[in-house]
Symmetry: C2
Subunit: 201 residues, 2 copies
């Protein structure tokens, strides 16, 4: 029995394959129709299995989409890290601005992912621990302070203020797409730059 469990069996591989195809179908459906617009039954139909089967791979609908969101943000983190890497030694303040714009762009490019991650209230869900992305921002802000580019203040207050500004314009653009927005890029730039400038020494 032990040997069955640990051997990388046909069954085990098949299980992983199914899991991945669920995730991919879910991503497609989710990106197109949003959380409420996807039903487990229709999803199962696309995958080609019974809807009950989905529950053998994911505890419930939320868990499935949580998994997708995590994947997406991991990708985002990778992109962000690459950006930090390539700009190592450069102007940290410019990097904050760039990261802020990248954050907004990511949200606008993946509105349904962003919606699920930061626009939906999910009472009784896991406590909101800081995401890797936030920790990266924290580190960057700290560096700006060490190099005396930002004035001395609580790192968290500064980081959270930056996050709030970037999130504000991202979420409004997603939620109110038909609002008579002025030039979007200028609004985004204004929001991000003002938030950054507000921290300068």
């Amino acid at each position: 029995m032990r040997s069955q469990a640990e051997g990388s069996n046909f069954r085990e591989r098949a299980r992983d394959v199914l899991r991945r195809s669920i995730l991919e179908a879910a991503r497609k459906a989710f990106v197109r129709d949003g959380y409420e617009g996807v039903s487990m039954r229709r999803l199962a139909e696309r995958v080609g299995c019974s809807h009950a089967n989905l529950y053998l791979h994911f505890r419930d609908k939320e868990a499935l989409f949580d998994c997708l969101v995590e994947e997406s943000f991991d990708e985002f983190d990778v992109g962000l890290k690459a950006m930090f890497q390539s700009a190592r030694g450069g102007d940290p303040v410019a990097l904050v601005r760039k990261a802020g714009r990248a954050y907004v762009e990511f949200g606008l490019a993946n509105p349904n992912i962003y919606e699920f991650a930061f626009l939906m209230r999910r009472p009784g869900r896991k406590p909101d621990k800081p995401h890797v992305t936030y920790e990266g921002l924290q580190a960057l802000v700290r560096r700006c302070m060490q190099e005396k580019r930002f004035r001395r203040m609580d790192v968290d207050v500064a980081s959270q203020a930056l996050w709030a500004a970037a999130h504000g314009i991202t979420s409004l653009l997603i939620i109110r797409p038909h609002f008579p927005w002025a030039d979007r890029d200028r609004v985004i730039a204004q929001v991000v730059d003002a938030a950054v400038d507000g921290l300068l020494a």
Copy 2:
């Protein structure tokens, strides 16, 4: 038949009474349980009528809650207008800061209302026309520019940047209440002040 319709009948009054009691029960339920947490059947039970009856007063669930939100924002507008009135002739920039804080406070004091108004995506809903509150902000920003306190720029870019900042911190605090926030008041002040300072001449 005409006289029936216009006469302030017993029936007509009763209709209005029921409509109001629906709205009040809905407000209570909605504030406690959020949009998804309220079902039309349970709501009808509280009101004391059949759930089908609700649909004779409101086209659907969304229309019912749209009505509530409109009421709430009317209240918000009244409060904000009074503030503008009382500070007329005073420092317009200080007024913008005050309005920004008031906006955030309102949102935090009425999270479920705010959620429905600005946190929920409702595809295919009526085009998002600017709300009275936004128009008030626009006017205030214009005044700041006329008095040369804000630098010359597109009024909408400036107004929308301010709105985005205030919305950003409001929505994050509502959606992520368990995030390890720094001192909330300081974060709010930082976000609002940075957004305002970013417009100064």
